[in-house]
């Protein structure tokens, strides 16, 4: 042992408080504004991501409330067509691109490193960068809306309506460029998750011991990587059509209007599963914890996740059954859309089986999961109905479909997400959410959701199309619309109640301790909230439910440096410790690069030269970001 090594103690040479404090210093975020802006701690970035996504949920929810107020009675004039078209575009775009996908990724950014037992996410600076890019993209959209130049072409932005001829001005460009922002950030997070899961798992966490939420995020991240480029290409082509006069989508010049729909839905259908699969991961965790037994059919559930992932790329045409594609081809997509119900059904059966054999504890978290099963199955079954070509031609683009996908997205993803918030809030904040308010929250949300969305099925069958800003009294849709509106107001209130619960519990909530639910996965093996280094000693995993199988404490892997950021890189399949790898320190470069990227993206709405000059500036900032340090690499 030489003098140099003494300056660099390893975690087996220290113990207790001293070890903990020195690690916390090494992994901590510097104080002050600069520290906050340059942090690369996945927990801080994840928290920001979660809060930002919920702010966007609130904005998108408000726009839905205004729309419902407009539709409450026939012939209403609360908002005109211009504002209404912006509102439903903002609602859909914000919910899909700024809330649903980011919030799932946000939870993954926070939880995956904890669940796999590592000290930070892979590529933490890229993670910080992705958050800033996401934030700037969201701001672009909402500032534009405040300035009354919000996009008004729908979240799907079909050409030719969104093309240069029928959408003059910059509204459609803002939509298209917002896509670029959010896709860049989503792709970055997907890469981080995949690398974290495959290469940074705690020793002993073989592939068949990975918690199901982590499996779900792994599959989701691959979906993101394969699906999102399609919409980025589409939106880039749209910007080219609009800005430099190409004719990709202009049939008069040899372009093709339907090409847009193929590209958009090749992304758009996997998108649904990008939102839904993480939610199923949350459900698996919550069900197992509150049934107090390991989840039934682990292997089946993993295979179901993978099967859904693959199948989700073979369904996109079922959004296009009314476009007159060849019938035989269309019927193939009926079959594939039906087929995806099999792995999804399997998941439901496995969860019910888990509950059957367990001793359920009815926490708010579990109630949301039960609410999820009841409502999501409705959405899934109405999905079987819309998968049929002939039936879809009757319900497509009507309120029936609006009902269907809200049952899938709210019932299938938001309910589990809320269950997840009740479940992981103590881990993130150190305090439990109030169960008393929580129960009220659940019942209000569950009942009002069904009041708001179930009647929409009937409205659709009665002929009410989507995206209409008003309807005539003679149509006889008034009563049901009024019920829907009242239900949606109550549903919005349930979120206000949720917010109150969060604020109240942050101050007054019961102190949680490391493992308030007696759960089995690794995130509960550390304190709540976790220290900057996540785990003072890296745990070693010997089973699928480590905290249940070793209640006396987990064995630890030692040998990492105490005053340098180091983590264990392990092998892909068996999670054998392989290398000690340095993890990046905090840095302001990601923020600078994200700022320059944002400016380049926004400027390229107005001039194509912004891509050239912006590319040079961003390139320079990337050089600063990646400039190698003079420090010697550890062996």
């Amino acid at each position: 042992m030489n003098a140099n090594d003494k300056d660099r103690p390893r975690d087996n040479e220290l113990a207790g408080r001293e070890l903990e404090e020195r690690l916390a210093r090494t992994w901590g975020t510097p104080r002050g504004i600069l520290g906050a802006l340059s942090t690369v701690d996945h927990k801080i970035v994840g928290r920001r991501y979660i809060v930002t996504a919920f702010v966007f949920l609130c904005l998108a929810g408000l726009s839905a409330v205004v729309m419902r107020a407009q539709l409450a009675v026939p012939g209403n004039t609360l908002v005109g067509p211009d504002r209404y078209n912006q509102l439903f575009t903002m609602h859909g775009t914000t919910m899909m691109f700024l809330f649903a996908v980011p919030v799932m990724e946000a939870f993954a950014v926070y939880l995956v490193p904890l669940m796999v037992g590592t000290r930070n996410i892979a590529f933490p600076r890229l993670n910080a960068f992705s958050y800033w890019v996401y934030l700037f993209g969201g701001l672009l959209l909402w500032v534009a809306f405040m300035l009354n130049i919000g996009p008004d072409v729908g979240w799907f932005a079909y050409v030719p309506l969104s093309g240069p001829e029928y959408s003059p001005g910059k509204r459609a460009d803002i939509w298209a460029q917002m896509i670029t922002f959010t896709e860049v950030s989503a792709l970055a997070v997907a890469v981080e998750i995949i690398v974290t899961v495959l290469k940074q798992r705690a020793p002993g966490m073989t592939l068949d011991r990975i918690p199901l939420f982590v499996w779900a995020m792994l599959v989701t991240s691959f979906l993101i990587i394969f699906a999102m480029p399609a919409v980025m290409i589409a939106s880039t082509m749209l910007i080219l059509d609009r800005l430099v006069g190409t004719h990709m989508f202009n049939p008069a010049e040899g372009g093709d209007a339907l090409l847009w729909q193929h590209l958009f839905w090749f992304f758009g259908h996997p998108e649904v599963y990008i939102i839904f699969l993480p939610a199923t991961g949350m459900v698996s965790m919550i069900v197992a914890t509150f049934a107090q037994r390991e989840v039934f059919g682990y292997l089946a559930l993993v295979l179901a996740l993978i099967a859904v992932g693959f199948l989700s790329f073979g369904l996109w045409v079922h959004h296009m059954f009314a476009t007159g594609l060849p019938q035989l081809g269309a019927s193939l997509f009926t079959a594939s859309s039906m087929m995806i119900a099999i792995p999804n059904g399997l998941q439901i059966f496995c969860w019910i089986a888990t509950l059957w054999d367990g001793r359920p504890r009815y926490t708010t978290s579990l109630l949301f999961v039960l609410g999820f099963i009841v409502t999501f199955v409705i959405g899934g079954l109405s999905g079987v109905l819309v998968a049929s070509v002939p039936l879809d031609t009757q319900v497509h683009d009507t309120y029936f479909v609006v009902a269907h996908f809200h049952y899938v997205l709210i019932g299938g993803a938001v309910f589990p997400l809320l269950g997840g918030v009740y479940y992981w809030f103590p881990k993130i904040t150190g305090r439990l959410l109030s169960e008393r308010i929580g129960k009220w929250h659940f019942w209000l949300a569950f009942v009002s959701f069904n009041v708001a969305f179930f009647p929409m099925h009937i409205l659709g069958l009665e002929g009410m199309p989507r995206r209409v800003y008003t309807y005539q009294a003679e149509m006889g849709w008034g009563n049901l619309n009024l019920i829907v509106t009242l239900g949606s107001f109550a549903f919005f209130l349930s979120f206000v109640l949720f917010l109150c619960n969060c604020i109240y519990s942050l101050r007054r909530g019961l102190v949680a301790g490391p493992n308030p639910w007696n759960a089995s996965s690794l995130e509960w093996a550390t304190s709540s909230p976790p220290p900057p280094q996540n785990f003072t000693l890296i745990p070693v995993v010997r089973s699928r439910d480590p905290l249940w199988s070793s209640p006396e404490g987990l064995p630890a892997a030692t040998g990492l440096s105490v005053d340098r950021r180091e983590l264990i890189v392990s092998t892909v399949v068996d999670a054998e410790p392989d290398l000690r790898e340095a993890s990046p320190d905090p840095s302001i470069w990601p923020l600078a690069a994200a700022g320059a990227t944002g400016i380049a993206f926004v400027a390229s709405i107005f001039t194509p030269w912004a891509v050239v000059w912006g590319g040079i500036i961003v390139g320079i900032l990337f050089i600063g970001w990646f400039w190698p340090k003079s420090e010697k690499e550890d062996k």
Partner: protein, 326 residues
């Protein structure tokens, strides 16, 4: 026959439960064999899917309320396996039924149909009746008349953005896409004034782009068709027509028999014979016509029809003239 009885029974229960969903634009109020097939398929799917939902919820409830009723892991695996198998079988049956209906609907042979070209515009429908004899073709707007019990062949395209034709009482949707020629065939066997509405978001006034489909007996249809074929009858007073031709109206609208030949807006040759104006936005009355001419933007904000500067006398004369175009 049993099938129909079953469907009627379920329909009755559903209608009673939902407070009735019959209407001029209801998918469950079929007026022809194709729509009836679709409605039947819907009820069949609904029955199966509802049964599955009740079974799942029952299983869930039983899992929660049962008191120590253990199922061994091994038998549970078998049960779950069997359920997945049952799911697959149900889905297979539904897929087969769906395919059967699909081939019936889209695989129809062409049997001396009435062929109609429908072109979507922001925000109205151009309707052209095709005939092998050019003198037997004519153009109208927003109101399709069809004879009962004869195949109707609709050829669909668009002049601007994507629209979607949807008259739920006779057939499912089919999009009108620029650069694409789509086609559907259907028959109407019950008389009625049926309503349809654009089902693909097409911009500002997507909400006010509806049309009427009037199904009538062949004799009435033939009469209507003959009246639509001729040019406009000379008006009682020429004042209104003079205003129409002298103001910007004529640059967008056609009135056959006059020099007005614009193609940008709907053909108005037999405007007064229609039931609605502005693509189903207003019922055709004198007041509505006058209001529409003077201030179209307050009825249908964003519509391509500009307000035309007219004195009150001119407005009255023009209204009289348009109303008289039967």
């Amino acid at each position: 026959m049993r099938r129909r009885l079953l469907a009627t029974g379920v329909l009755f229960v559903f209608a009673a439960a939902s407070g009735g969903c019959r209407g001029a634009q209801s998918a469950l109020n079929p007026h022809g064999p194709e729509a009836r097939e679709l409605a039947w398929l819907f009820w069949f799917f609904l029955a199966i899917l509802a049964a599955v939902w009740f079974a799942v919820v029952a299983a869930l409830l039983f899992a929660l309320i049962r008191r120590r009723f253990p199922v061994r892991e091994h038998s549970m695996t078998r049960i779950v396996g069997a359920l997945v198998g049952a799911t697959a079988i149900i889905l297979l049956v539904l897929t087969g039924l769906s395919y059967r209906t699909q081939s019936q609907l889209y695989g129809q042979e062409v049997t001396a149909p009435v062929t109609i070209h429908l072109t979507g515009h922001q925000w109205w429908w151009e309707i052209e009746y095709e005939s092998s004899n050019p003198s037997q073709t004519f153009t109208t707007a927003n109101e399709i008349h069809v004879p009962l019990n004869r195949q109707i062949r609709l050829k669909l395209t668009s002049s601007d953005v994507i629209h979607s034709f949807w008259v739920p009482t006779v057939f499912g949707k089919m999009d009108l896409i620029p650069g694409v020629k789509n086609e559907i065939r259907f028959t109407v066997d019950k008389p009625g004034v049926l309503r349809g509405q654009c089902a693909e978001f097409c911009g500002f006034q997507h909400a006010h782009m509806s049309l009427l489909l009037i199904a009538e007996d062949p004799a009435t249809f033939a009469k209507w068709r003959n009246s639509q074929l001729r040019s406009r009858l000379p008006p009682a007073s020429s004042e209104g027509e003079k205003i129409f031709l002298g103001k910007p109206c004529a640059t967008c609208h056609t009135i056959r028999g006059t020099p007005a030949g614009g193609r940008f807006g709907p053909d108005l040759t037999h405007f007064g014979s229609r039931k609605t104006i502005a693509a189903g936005t207003l019922l055709l009355t004198r007041g509505a016509i006058a209001g529409w001419i003077v201030d179209p933007q307050s009825t249908k904000p964003g519509a391509n029809m500009p307000a035309v500067d007219l004195t009150p006398q001119e407005t009255l004369a023009l209204t009289d003239y348009l109303e008289g175009l039967r």
